[in-house]
Each structure stands twice: as structure tokens, then as C-alpha cells.
């Protein structure tokens, strides 16, 4: 009965005690539990290993645990070679980073790999966007907001487009036009609000991804390097509100934890962001706002 600390104090003390490597390992296990990867025969094994990493004392630092997870996530990449998506590759590289750091018993190696993996991955992502023939001219978002049903509510909420227009635009964009001279024009005039949303999305993405890449690749003590945790939080808070792929965001946050500032405030922000990503995914906020505005 001597311990009079409330739950928040105990949580804060627990958070303070975690090393960056332990926090990163635990968040990675949570990510694998919340969003199991692979086919039916890989999924139970990854979930069991992730559960063991969370529940068994000290298991998070076992090279065997991370070695097994690296093999499973690597098998998933090889099974669909080379067509797995970006997330599958990053998860595999990160599990390899955890194996290496656990085997070498060197948390600095994990921190360095986290910084470089994030920095290089965002540099590649930003470079693909800057050099894409469809990206800086807004064509990417003008078409994606129509083609990808995951963005329909968001597009309806922030533009004057109607569901029928989105349907007609999608049918036009997906149709195969074999005869060059007979292609009809786009079925409606693109409204200014839609063009504005596409332009804002284009430049916001270019800015954020370039900022994350630059801050993670800059020397850690430099002014730009000190921005890296904030840059990642800004990226996750904004991008995953719209793009419903929280498992990628959770993985990025786990990696950020490995190299981040180990202050309580920084960790609370990180965990808050981790929770918000789940909220974004589970709560169709754009659809609910759309319904409310229609009443």
C-alpha cells in the first residue's frame, strides 16, 4: 500500500524506464499483432512470435525471435517476388535490423539503421514523386482521388464533386482506349475545388516527404537532424488521416522510436500518434462528417 502513484504516474515511470530499443521492439510487436502479415500459413506464426515478444520478459532482445520474424517476413517478400508492396520490404529490412542489433547487443546499431532506413526510404519515395511524369503536374492526385475508392469520402467532403461524377470519372479513367482517334473527352469539367485539393495534396506530400528524408539523413546533432521526430509525427498525423494504411505508419513510428529523443514528452507524442493512426483507420471520419454535413 506504500505505492501511492496513480495510473498516469506509473505509466510515465514505465515509459521513462524503456530504452529506445525496447520501445521500438515492443511497438514493432504491436504492429505485427494489430496488422498481421502474409498468407494464412505465415500469419499465425508472426502473431505468436509478436505476442511472445510482448509478453515474455526479455524476449524483445532475443536474436532468435527477430531472426524468425525476419525469415517469415522475408519469405513473404520472396513468395511474391518482386511484386510485394513497399511495406513488405520495409518490414523485412526492419526485422533484419532488429536481428543484427540483438545479435551484436548494440542499440546504437539499431538507432543508426532506423535513421538510415527511414531517411533512404523517404529519399527514394520523394525522388520517385519529384521525377514522376504524373506527379508535380497534379495528374496523380486528380486521377487517384477518382480511381481509388478509399479516397471517395475525403474527395466528396472537400470538393464540389458528386458521387455520380466520381463514378463517371472512374469509368472513363479505367477504360481501355484502343483506337487513338476515337477517345472521348473527360466526362465533366473539373471543378476548381477539386483542382485545388489535388494541387495542395501534391505539394504537401512533396514537402513532407522531402523534409522527413532530409532530417533523417542529416547529421543527428544538426539543426535539421533535430527536426526528425517532429517531421515524422507531422507526416503520420496528416498523411494517415487520408491514406488508410496504418500498418505502414505504425512501422515508421516503431522505427522512429529506436532513434528518437528518449524524453517522456517525445514518447507520449509518439504513442499518441500510434493510437491516432488506429482511430483514423477504424473510424470513417470523412464519411461521418459528410453525413453530418448532408443533414
Amino acid at each position: 500500500m506504500g505505492d501511492k502513484a496513480g495510473p498516469w504516474q506509473r505509466l510515465a515511470a514505465g515509459l521513462r524506464r524503456l530504452t529506445p530499443a525496447e520501445l521500438a521492439a515492443r511497438l514493432t510487436c504491436l504492429t505485427l499483432l494489430f496488422s498481421p502479415v502474409g498468407d494464412w500459413f505465415v500469419r499465425p506464426a508472426t502473431m505468436a512470435l509478436a505476442g511472445a515478444g510482448l509478453l515474455l520478459p526479455g524476449a524483445w532482445r532475443s536474436p532468435w525471435l527477430w531472426g524468425a520474424l525476419a525469415l517469415l517476413t522475408g519469405a513473404r517478400v520472396i513468395a511474391d517476388w518482386p511484386l510485394a508492396d513497399n511495406h513488405a520490404y520495409l518490414l523485412f529490412y526492419w526485422c533484419v535490423a532488429l536481428v543484427v542489433a540483438a545479435a551484436l547487443r548494440d542499440p546504437e546499431v539499431l538507432a543508426r539503421n532506423a535513421r538510415l532506413l527511414i531517411g533512404l526510404m523517404f529519399a527514394a519515395a520523394a525522388w520517385q514523386k519529384w521525377t514522376s511524369p504524373d506527379y508535380p503536374n497534379d495528374v496523380f492526385f486528380l486521377t487517384t482521388f477518382l480511381l481509388d475508392p478509399r479516397f471517395t469520402d475525403f474527395t466528396l467532403l472537400f470538393t464540389t464533386l458528386t458521387p455520380d461524377q466520381i463514378e463517371a470519372g472512374r469509368a472513363y479513367l479505367e477504360a481501355l482506349h484502343r483506337e487513338p482517334g476515337t477517345v472521348p473527352q473527360f466526362p465533366f469539367e473539373l471543378p476548381a475545388s477539386f483542382r485545388l485539393l489535388a494541387t495542395a495534396s501534391t505539394w504537401w506530400n512533396l514537402f513532407e516527404q522531402t523534409l522527413v528524408a532530409a532530417s533523417f539523413l542529416a547529421p543527428p546533432g544538426s539543426r535539421l537532424g533535430r527536426l526528425r521526430d517532429a517531421a515524422m509525427l507531422l507526416f503520420c498525423f496528416t498523411i494517415y488521416a487520408v491514406a488508410p494504411v496504418p500498418s505502414f505508419g505504425w512501422l515508421l513510428l516503431a522505427m522512429t522510436a529506436a532513434q528518437g529523443t528518449p524524453t517522456l514528452r517525445a514518447r507520449l507524442w509518439l504513442l499518441g500518434c500510434f493510437a491516432i493512426l488506429g482511430f483514423y483507420y477504424e473510424v470513417p471520419w470523412a464519411g461521418l462528417l459528410l453525413e453530418a454535413s448532408a443533414r
Binding site: V100, A125, Q128, D134, V139
Partner: protein, 159 residues
């Protein structure tokens, strides 16, 4: 032997140093392979290890794979492949390399063999696989389609 121990310790140190960079080396290799596959085999930039997701309109939903049985006079009959063949279709669509197109042609032959009630006026000369993608004009979003890969396969022997 102290000299041997020194050599072994040096080798272990170098191994430690190299293994510490393994994740970054994997990422760099994956990126290189992705860029090569995009250039050489029209891999969709969204896929593979290039982190090009959400960067290009060249995505699966605006690519199309078509398979035709072609007669000696050039007449073409579309070969419609259903859900059992989805994986071969998806792979040919997203990575239309010679190997994936050949795999799809093999699957199409199997599908036709499994449905003997499909009758052509004569035995087709070959199977043609075509992969198309759409592009859009900036501003107007005027669409155009272009063939990004095509290959003919002998109808009977897979050659």
C-alpha cells in the same frame, strides 16, 4: 597461438562491422533491382522495393491484360480468364516480363484445354498476350492507352 587469435578477432570485428550495415545494404540492393525491373520489364512503380507507391498513375487498375487466340488469317478471339487465373493475370499486368507473359500463355492454354466446348473455326496459330496502360493529359485528363508489352506464343507447344 596469439597471432591466430588476433586474426580471428580482426575477422570477427570486420564481420560485426559489415553485419551492422546489412539492412541498409538490403534496402539499396532492393532499390537497384526495382529501378532495373521498372526500366527493363515495365514493373509498376507502385510495387517492388522502390518506394514508388502513390507516385505514379501507372497502377494496376489502369493496366489491362488481354489474351487472344489468333487464327492463321489474323482473326483474333479474346480468351477470357476467370478467377482461378487471377494470380497469373495480376503478375503479367504488374510485371509484363517475357517470363510472366509466357506463364500467362501457359495458363491460357490450360484454360482452353479445360473447356473443349469452346470451338474455333480452325486451330489457332498462336496465343497473343498484350498488356496496355492508360496515360492522362495534364489539365484535361484526356486519356490515351498504349501497349507496353506484347508477345505471341505458338498455340500447341508453348514455344
Amino acid at each position: 597461438m596469439p597471432g591466430g587469435e588476433t586474426v580471428r578477432a580482426g575477422a570477427r570485428g570486420r564481420l560485426r562491422q559489415v553485419s551492422g550495415w546489412l539492412p541498409v545494404l538490403l534496402l539499396a540492393s532492393g532499390l537497384g533491382v526495382h529501378l532495373w525491373q521498372v526500366r527493363a520489364h515495365q514493373l509498376s512503380p507502385w510495387l517492388g522495393a522502390g518506394f514508388g507507391m502513390f507516385a505514379s498513375t501507372d497502377v494496376g487498375s489502369v493496366r489491362r491484360v488481354e489474351v487472344f487466340a489468333v487464327l492463321a488469317d489474323g482473326t483474333r478471339y479474346p480468351v477470357l480468364l476467370g478467377s482461378p487465373y487471377e494470380d497469373a493475370l495480376r503478375r503479367a499486368r504488374d510485371l509484363p516480363s517475357g517470363r510472366e507473359l509466357e506463364r500467362l500463355a501457359g495458363v491460357a492454354r490450360e484454360a482452353l484445354a479445360a473447356q473443349p466446348d469452346i470451338a474455333f473455326p480452325e486451330t489457332p496459330r498462336h496465343l497473343r498476350v498484350e498488356v496496355w496502360r492508360n496515360r492522362y493529359e495534364p489539365g484535361s485528363l484526356q486519356a490515351s492507352s498504349s501497349m507496353i508489352a506484347t508477345r505471341d506464343f505458338a498455340f500447341d507447344d508453348g514455344g
